[in-house]
């Protein structure tokens, strides 16, 4: 077969010369490359002290959003669950009762909302499917845990702090994320 590129080279079977057998020149060449790295920029990030910026398209841990008045946006329509390729999202819907209007934005809400972080592949399809701007993937990742139990994230883990009553918490969360 004809070579497709001109990069292919026939292996030389010629016996090595005296200088080549000595290896000295190649060793010096190699050590020079090693030494030259002393003057290059260090790619290592010293992690706990220094944190790398996330890419703007990074998809991390989910948050459940609230509106400006602090009401939960999620209406348990199930579109995130049906879009989820890993089947990580489950929920139970309930009807909003009179007196709960300040808690939930719509007539129906998610009484329970769970994401199994062991299953989640962070593809972001839930975020795309959501018609109510309720679920977003934030710029943090799920922290490590010793047990599997810790990876079933319920509503208390996912909901953002209430901008009305926990404004300082929300600012803190935003500040850490940004």
């Amino acid at each position: 077969m004809q070579p497709l590129t001109n990069k292919a080279q026939a292996v030389s079977r010629a016996p090595m010369t005296f200088w080549e057998r000595l290896y000295l020149i190649n060793i010096i060449k190699g050590m020079f490359i090693t030494f030259s790295h002393m003057f290059k920029k260090q790619p290592t990030t010293r992690y706990p002290e220094e944190k790398r910026a996330f890419s703007p398209v990074f998809r991390g841990l989910h948050v459940l959003n609230r509106d400006e008045e602090g009401r939960e946006r999620c209406t348990a329509c199930g579109l995130c669950a049906v879009a989820c390729p890993a089947e990580a999202i489950t929920m139970e819907a309930a009807e909003r009762e009179t007196g709960e209007e300040h808690l939930y934005r719509e007539e129906k809400y998610a009484a329970k909302y769970e994401i199994n972080m062991l299953r989640c592949i962070f593809c972001g399809l839930c975020e795309e499917a959501c018609p109510k701007d309720a679920i977003y993937l934030s710029e943090t990742f799920a922290p490590a845990n010793y047990t599997r139990k810790g990876f079933i994230y319920g509503k208390p883990d996912l909901l953002i702090p209430n901008p009305k009553t926990e404004a300082s918490d929300l600012a803190l969360a935003r500040g850490v994320e940004a």
Binding site: T75, G78, T90, E92, A93, A94, E97, K112, P131, I152
Partner: protein
């Protein structure tokens, strides 16, 4: 019907012989597929229905063999009977597709965008219609109409804002029950489905208005917000019912019955029973028999692969039958060593909460773990 009464009609270049008196829509349905115009108000099992929504408009390019002139305007195919030699254009006509997009826009003018909340989502004819024939955006800039809430009793939930005034439920009440207590009040923009004086609908067959409603205006209160239809498992089942045919579709989660509906055919209409009568079901079957033991299960219902309800059922019957080769059965009765039992941690789908047994929608306290709701 004798031989000479057969009329030859051509719809979208497909010719079919139908008996005299058949409507264009029925003839198109005999051909099937995309040739059949969509219908929001026409219901073949209800006498007198049709002619209101205008989604089934077709172009008649040749009136008949004797009078070959085309009809001057688009006609409602559900109310137009065929003539011998009639030529009809449905999806082959630009005019029809354009008019249908306009009709969908009109139907959606006042229709709220609450599909995420609506229990009908996933099996809603208006959703399908607007997806197939409508435009992506609305040009309407005004307030959508709203109504005072009417309570129709403990089993039926009315959302008047979603209603498209198809009159199907009115015909259902007229033809299936001996006394109709609901109807259209007022006129024009104020027209609404209601009972005149607050009255609940409690006739034995009134539950069928839920099945005939093409949108989510009339929904099942015993199923309200329990689950989305596409997460449920539709199973054909029957029971020996003294008042109705007892042939239904159960919508299950696991072994729990969440909802009971009549069986619907490919046009979204009630299927006929083997003796040729429409398979309307009674309220007892629909609202009260929510235990698997009440029913003889025939098997999983075939759902069109195009429907969102078919998601998760994979191919046909696979996934709806319980596997026999469980771990315990093939490993000499040993149980698997689980690293985590999901029910220990998860608060969703808890084994001790039986949503199907709760009358009406669940509320926040239903799912609290220390609160066991048993029927």
């Amino acid at each position: 019907m004798s031989e000479q009464n057969l009329f030859k009609v051509t719809i979208d270049n497909i010719t079919i012989d139908v008996p005299a008196g058949t409507t264009v829509l029925q003839a198109a349905r005999l051909i099937g597929g995309q040739v059949a115009p969509p219908a929001m108000c026409f219901y073949s099992k209800l006498e007198g229905s049709g002619g209101k929504c205008r989604t089934c408009l077709v172009e008649v390019s040749k009136g008949s063999e004797k009078d070959p002139r085309p009809m001057p305007k688009l006609v409602a195919s559900c109310r137009t009977t065929v003539m011998d030699g009639m030529e009809v254009k449905n999806i082959t006509s630009e005019k029809v597709l354009d008019a249908r997009a306009g009709v969908v826009e009109f139907l959606l003018l006042n229709h709220p965008l609450d599909c995420p909340i609506c229990d009908q989502a996933g099996e809603c004819h208006l959703q399908d219609l607007s997806f197939e024939h409508g435009k992506a955006e609305t040009r309407y800039e005004f307030q959508r109409r709203t109504f005072e809430k009417h309570d129709l009793g403990k089993n039926i939930q009315l959302h008047m804002t979603r209603c498209i005034l198809c009159y199907r439920c009115v015909f259902t009440a007229d033809q299936l029950t001996n006394k109709r207590v609901h109807g259209i009040l007022d006129r024009g923009d104020h027209a609404e489905i209601a009972t005149h004086i607050e009255k609940s609908l409690d006739n034995e067959f009134i539950g069928n208005v839920i099945d005939v409603c093409p949108v989510g205006a009339l929904t099942d209160k015993t199923f309200r917000f329990k689950n989305r239809v596409w997460f449920l498992k539709p199973m054909d089942a029957h029971r020996d019912c003294p008042t109705c045919s007892g042939r239904v579709t159960l919508w299950n989660r696991g072994d729990e019955v969440y909802r009971v509906t009549a069986r619907k055919d490919q046009w979204g209409e009630i299927e006929d029973t083997p003796d040729g009568k429409p398979g309307w079901i009674c309220n007892t079957c629909r609202f009260d028999k929510k235990a698997t033991s009440d029913w003889t299960i025939e098997g999983p219902r075939e759902i069109s692969r195009q429907s969102v309800i078919a998601q998760g059922h994979y191919a046909g019957n696979i996934g709806t039958t319980k596997p026999n080769e469980t771990f315990k059965a093939v490993n000499d009765g040993r149980t698997p060593h689980l690293l985590m039992d999901i029910h220990d941690e998860s608060e969703v789908n808890q084994p001790n909460i039986h949503l199907g047994q709760i009358q009406g929608p669940s509320h926040g306290d239903t799912f609290n773990t220390n609160n066991t709701h048993k029927a």
